[in-house]
Amino acid sequence: MLLRPALFISAVLFTLGVAGVLFRRNAIVIFMCVELMLNAVNLTFVALAQTLGMGGQVFVFFVMAVAAAEAAVGLAIILAVFRHKQSVSLQNMNLLRDG
Amino acid sequence: MYERWVLTALLAWPLVAGVVVLLLPARLAKYVALAASLVEFAISVPLWWTFVPAGGMQFLVDRAWIPAWGIHFTVGVDGISLFLVLLTTFLMPLSILGSWSYITTREAGFYAMLLVLTTGMIGVFVALDLFFFYVMWEVMLIPMYFIIGVWGGDNRLYAAIKFFVYTFFGSLLMLVAILVLYLHAGRATGIYSFSYAHLLSNAKDLGPVAWWLFGAFFLAFAIKVPMFPLHTWLPDAHVEAPTAGSVILAGILLKMGTYGFLRFALPFFPAVALNQSVQLGIVILSLIGIIYGGLVAMVQPDFKKLIAYSSVAHLGFVMLGIWALTLQSVQGALLIMINHGISTGALFFLVGMMYERRHSRLIEAYGGIARVVPLFAAILTIVSLSSIALPGTNGFVGEFLVLLGSFRTYPIATAVATTGVIVAAAYLLTALQRVIYNPLAHPENEALTDLTPREIAVLVPLLVCILWVGIYPKPFLQRMEPAARALIEQLRPSAAATAGQP
């Protein structure tokens, strides 16, 4: 009986994550918004797991691993970019474009 | 024995020779290429005698190629394709000889391209498997693209890509049409094969799809012919291409379109092709081609462009003849296909020879040169006369047959088409006058040298053909007749009975 609220909340969180990605320019914050999306999905999994079995929870476990891995790589990339531009604002990321 | 290997040899030999030419040192290129093309011609000549007019498809070879799709390497020759094959092998040595001094850069590449082109063109004419046909149809595109693009005139890049994209556009739609036919036949019979005979016998009850398929085929072939609104690639390609390129373009490539109509578009979709409105449309387009082509040719300042537009007119006659579907008109169309190859080829050679001397294709760059180069003038006159279908030359026999034959099916249209004869005289004789007659305006023309022995060697065979076909076309007509008759019977059982009957 917690399923629907859970699904609703996760949908909202997911949307917020997407909105955040759309709304922000700071690479790190955008990445955090992505993490938010992942967590929203986690909520869905856990909620579903309650009625569908442990598979969902296990999945969340893996999602965390993935998130960690992405965080490691992603932040490293952001660092690398920062070395060049002294900024993580995506506004300055326009070397690559149709020209 | 000869029957078994000749076509395969005709296809394989130039390819091999082309590769060889490419690998040999450039200075040898033209000699090797000429030798190779002469050998090719020698291989093809016996076709003339061994061909049995009433024998239908002959010299058949059939080998599995891509069994997964029921694709075979199937080739054969009948009265329709025989002469186109011979024309190809006949024109190639002349083109090579004609490029002798015209081509000065990257010779190896050029002659290799010519040889590869030969394979492609012959392949198109002998293919009896639609996949193979399509492949060949495209394959001959690349060499021509390079010939125009690398050795062409100032505006060659534009002309080359225009030529390529135009043709590619048409042929790709045809490709889809072929596939639909293939699947249709496959579903109907359970046998999936691209074999011409198979598809032909199962092209029935397509329903409305037939219209789309015919449209696709029509587009592909009409672009090549070229028919009126789709012709604009031709002037550019002709003008920019080097002499040999123009000769082959006009002499052979254009015929692929009309050949396609005869071999595929008409037999596959007779119901559509002979539908009243379709007939009307095509006849009107042909008329536009004849008259419009002639009139536009009349005002061209560039001799090559003039010839290009005159080709549009000539091919208009062919289309008319094909669609009139009487024995005379169809054979006339076939004959014009050959004549146009010979006469227009010769014209392009002549223009090319002048270009080598004066580096100008503009008509007003000449004038009065008959006094300086009488031999050139004489030959140019004869060729022009054959091009305007003067009786006694090859041109007349073809146009006479087409018009006489078509008159039965479309009297009014044919009467209009006949005025094309007047227009032809108008544009070609005017050009002739402005080139070789009139006062010798440009002093630089005073020093022009007359034809060299090599150039004469290029032209004489063509002149011989012009007179031969003009005076004694019987051998040609005999060999065509059964094929033409078969085609008509197959398309119009009703007309077949009265084919040629008044």
Partner: protein, 500 residues
Amino acid sequence: MRLDPSVYPDLLLSLLPELVLTGWALVLLLFVAWRHKTVRDLRIAGWLTLLALVSTAVATWWLWWNRAGMQGFVTMVAADDFRWVADWVFLGAAGLTVLISFAYLEREQLLAPEYYVLLIFGTLGMMVMAAGADLMVIFLGLELMSVAVYVLAGFDRRRARSAEAALKYFLLGAFASGFLLYGIALVYGATGTTNLGLVGGQVSIMGKPSVMLLAGLALLIVGFGFKVAAVPFHMWAPDVYDGAPTPVTAFMATGVKAAAFAALFRIMNQAFGGVAAWHDILWWLAVVTMIGGNLFALSQRSLKRMLAYSSVAHAGYLLVALTAGGAAGTSAFLVYVIAYTLMSLGAFAVLSAKGRAGESDVLIDDLAGLASRCPWLAFALAVCMLSLLGFPGTAGFIGKWYILIAATSAGQNTLAAILVLTSVVSAGYYLPVIMAMYMKPEPIAAAHVDVQLDRWGRSAVAVVVVGLLLFGVWPNRLFELARSAVESVQPTATTAITPP
């Protein structure tokens, strides 16, 4: 040979290629940790990588030879010919990438052997994707591949462009995998499982698919659509391809795309074979991708970006094969993937030879007169271009023809027509390359003196060209391979008429 996943040795056996490759990855990691200074180290690492790939290919071949297949029901990985063939494509792409990397890394002074480690991890991820019979496995494989490729894209850290490419790819990639994950969650919710087979079963029980399932399906397609760079999820591709080191770009354009397609293919056919909706969605994706990719490519002046857009267009063609479905579609898909891998790798290889500093500067017109300077290289590029154009005599044509057969036999004549028409458009940007090389004079004398491939790069290009021409004229073996792969992945092979 039937393998029972519930038995441990069988399980290992079924994962033999992956295990072999992982093992090599660890070996290489050790080696790198020990030697990572000189050019020679780099070379050795490269050789070890090639060795790894070859041995993996052998392992795969062994399984294929023994007709390895999964016994029983619920499994995490599939063992079927589709997987083996896909693995070969990935391994081949990786191998060719290694070959063209040798000279490149040295020229650009990227003396970090980790490059090869990451290459292997990326390949491993692809293989996992192709193997995965469970959304979870596929997801993890995809992440493994992505993480490795994110880093590779940004590998040339000294150049801002490379770093920027990595960032764009990473951010958008993570964003996309969020959607993918959500899609998986919804599918899980709709069917109670993430195993493709079971999902398929549930779907067939379900009859009319539930909204949740459809939403999940949609988000799955989005997630993979991003990886294959289908319009409108393609926008990262031109920039990332442009910024990444060229060998990596080649790897992305071929391996990554192929892997994503392989997974998508498996999912659609095994899990959603019974759902009609995805055909419709993919139909639209295919159309816009073909049109978009080709039109956008038309206006590019930089060779690298042009190739990037062309890879988008080719994703469209592959989507056509996918949409057509059926046995014909599947084998057409495999054939085309192989052809496509060859030709775009070849193109990128030549590009890497011509360019400097990440080839950001190579315009199409910079190739002017290449033919007279290095005829063979020009010839190779010309062949690749013609093959990309789908010109008869090349593998590209065979592939396209196969896709057309699949489409038409599935009654998708419109799709076929759009495909050929867009191919005509593509002539508008492939031909100028040939035109520049053969028909334009060298802008300055010695414009191409510094153009050279080392012998490995040359051998790679040679392999590509020979392959393209061979398959273009004699594709029979290719077809047999593809067809044998089809039955395995194609439970509903009867949905479409299959040419014999």
